[in-house]
Symmetry: C2
Subunit: 181 residues, 2 copies
């Protein structure tokens, strides 16, 4: 198994462990439990939990950019829908657990510079993508709209986190489209 | 001093104590420090911190409703601006400290039914006000827009909480107006 293969497997195991245990209760052992090659191979690639989390967020970013390269054939509107689906991917239990874990990691950013940098980068990439797609759709002031839209998405997620009220996600997406485009 | 006067003074003292110490570090003693009549009068009116917080949130609601009764002479657009100013009143230091304290209290709601009920009520009142004003402005689908707008406002505040990036609040308000109305 090549270096890249085992790294990708560790990333997948980290994803599964985050969904199961959240971030505070995450340990290299718990990631190893999701990974058949065992703990020593994880320690061969990563020094500690922080090092692994940095790589995990970098890996998320890379995957977002890879997906981006595949998109060119689609219409701007399809791209908008797909961005919205991804950023509001909270309808199934696993995705929701992952999202909660991400918010836990984000809560560390005020006292963790390395994580903070990565979150800022992911944030900027998402905003830029929305801006690009809104511009392609000939929406006025795409930059301001994109900025507002990521606040709206964050608000929807943190409200769901707070009161857990079940909301009709498809309706929310439709409302967003009608308001922002 | 009448009962209502001393209650109002205690509420004002609670507001100041929340701005200074946040919610977790709030104690009846710290509220008493902001209130010249002393701790015993607070205990005469309230059993404990929970009882006082419940009253404080009720008092916030009442004040929101009082202000509402004064509004009738203003145009719908002025009312929209004023609602936005109030819900995004985060530009001065004291208001921001108060807002952070409110978010701390809200974080208690998953395991505190009495606080949760009050937050739900405040949330509903704010949403209803936005809906009413949007309807008066002849905006299409005011209910959906109001719902989305309170998510946007929450998102703006929690993003500011998270990365603390200074944002031009007047520009944000203008962007909200252009997008939602």
């Amino acid at each position: 198994m090549g270096r890249e293969d085992s790294k990708r497997q560790i990333m997948d195991a980290t994803y599964r462990a985050l969904c199961k245990h959240g971030y505070s209760d995450l340990s290299i052992q718990r990631i190893a439990d999701e990974f058949e090659k065992g703990k020593s191979l994880i320690y061969y690639h990563y020094n500690d939990k922080q090092d692994l989390m940095n790589s995990f967020l970098d890996h998320m970013m890379e995957r977002m950019e890879e997906e981006d390269m595949l998109k060119t054939s689609r219409s701007a509107e399809e791209q908008f829908d797909s961005l919205l689906d991804k950023t509001l991917a909270i309808e199934d239990e696993e995705m929701w657990e992952f999202r909660k874990a991400l918010m836990e990691i984000e809560a560390q950013t005020p006292h963790n510079k390395e994580l903070a940098e990565r979150f800022r980068k992911i944030d900027r990439v998402v905003k830029d993508k929305f801006e690009e797609v809104l511009a392609e759709m000939d929406i006025e002031r795409p930059e301001a709209k994109a900025e507002l839209l990521i606040s709206t998405i964050d608000g929807i997620i943190s409200r769901k986190m707070g009161h857990g009220t079940p909301k009709d996600l498809e309706k929310i997406k439709e409302d967003i489209k009608q308001t922002f485009t």
